[in-house]
Amino acid sequence: MRLIVHNMLTCNIKGVINKFPLRIEAEKVIKKEVDFNPDFLRHMLAKIEWKALVDGARSMGYTELPDHAPALESDEPFLRKFHHALLELNLEEGSLVCQESGRKFPVEKRVPNMLLHEDEV
């Protein structure tokens, strides 16, 4: 699971209000190089929940992202870090934890399992 995906996943258990973001418990993280696409990244900057990305990246061992996205978004060194965090870190094994209910959604072989049990729907 890459952080671009984590940035959209919520806990949809019935009754939970604080559904996003899910806290990451990382057991195994892999890094895989992906082509750098600055136009795409600039476009994404406005759509990404920045704090969730920074916290998610930290949980996966990457601490280079600034706490806030800089005003000069065309700054290439920044875009490279954004690129790395958003698209090149992959959670192979671990969990996504709902901050309100504590429910853990397992991530196995890079695939998060968001299926709810019958009593959670």
Binding site: M8, T10, K19, K47, L87, K109, R110, V111
Partner: protein, 208 residues
């Protein structure tokens, strides 16, 4: 990439080894998949450099097509772990990057406007009544740009009305009519092959 080349690559993908009838698991053939995604990109610019979600991805045929047409990011969503394993292998074979999420698409809640385009070959609702509409409703909530979907031609008026009236569609157009060749996959299929008329739809959501 040319259409023929795309179709060829998709034809090499592994499909369901043990399809589950209750999930209406049918492979999306390379002929339909290649035309669907090729049109989405060449006529509408909805794939290349975009974030594309494949709802009910199964073995990942539509996801693979999106990746081969240079989507910036492709995410396949499906409820069945075996299909997702096959989809993962297919992505590796093609050397494309696809993220997969195991979930019930009809109960999914995705935050934000990250997904631009949703592509899907949803269940037609022959096993679980209304499944086609549930998938369409879910897709319209997630896509910020466009939804491409296949539905039986016999449901055309019903789909158009529901999309415009209930699912927040700004537009709902049938791009073309295709013949979906369904091979004899399940024991209860009597004929060797059956040919269903399906519409390829493009829906545009209203800006949220």
């Amino acid at each position: 990439m040319k259409l023929k080349q795309l179709e060829g690559l998709l034809g090499d993908l592994q499909q369901f080894s043990n399809p589950k009838v209750e999930l209406e698991q049918y492979p999306t053939g390379p002929h339909i998949a290649s035309r669907m995604l090729f049109t989405a990109e060449n006529s509408y610019g909805d794939i290349t450099d975009k974030v594309v979600a494949d709802f009910g991805c199964g073995c990942g045929t539509l996801s693979a097509a999106a990746a081969l047409l240079d989507a910036a990011c492709v995410i396949g969503f499906d409820i069945d772990p075996q299909s997702l394993e096959t989809a993962t292998l297919n992505a590796e074979e093609l050397e494309v990057e696809i993220d997969f999420v195991q979930c019930d698409v009809t109960k999914l809640e995705l935050k934000g406007q990250v997904v631009g385009t949703v592509v899907m070959n949803p269940p037609f609702g022959t096993r679980k009544k209304g499944a086609d509409m549930e998938f369409l409703s879910a897709a319209m909530k997630v896509a910020s740009q466009a939804v491409y979907s296949l539905h039986k031609t016999s449901t055309r008026e019903h789909i158009k009305r529901a999309a415009l009236r209930d699912f927040n569609a700004k537009s709902a157009e049938v791009i073309c009519e295709l013949r979906y060749d369904l091979p004899k996959l399940y024991k209860f299929h009597k004929r060797k092959e059956v040919d269903i008329a399906v519409d390829l739809w493009r829906f545009e959501p209203r800006q949220n």
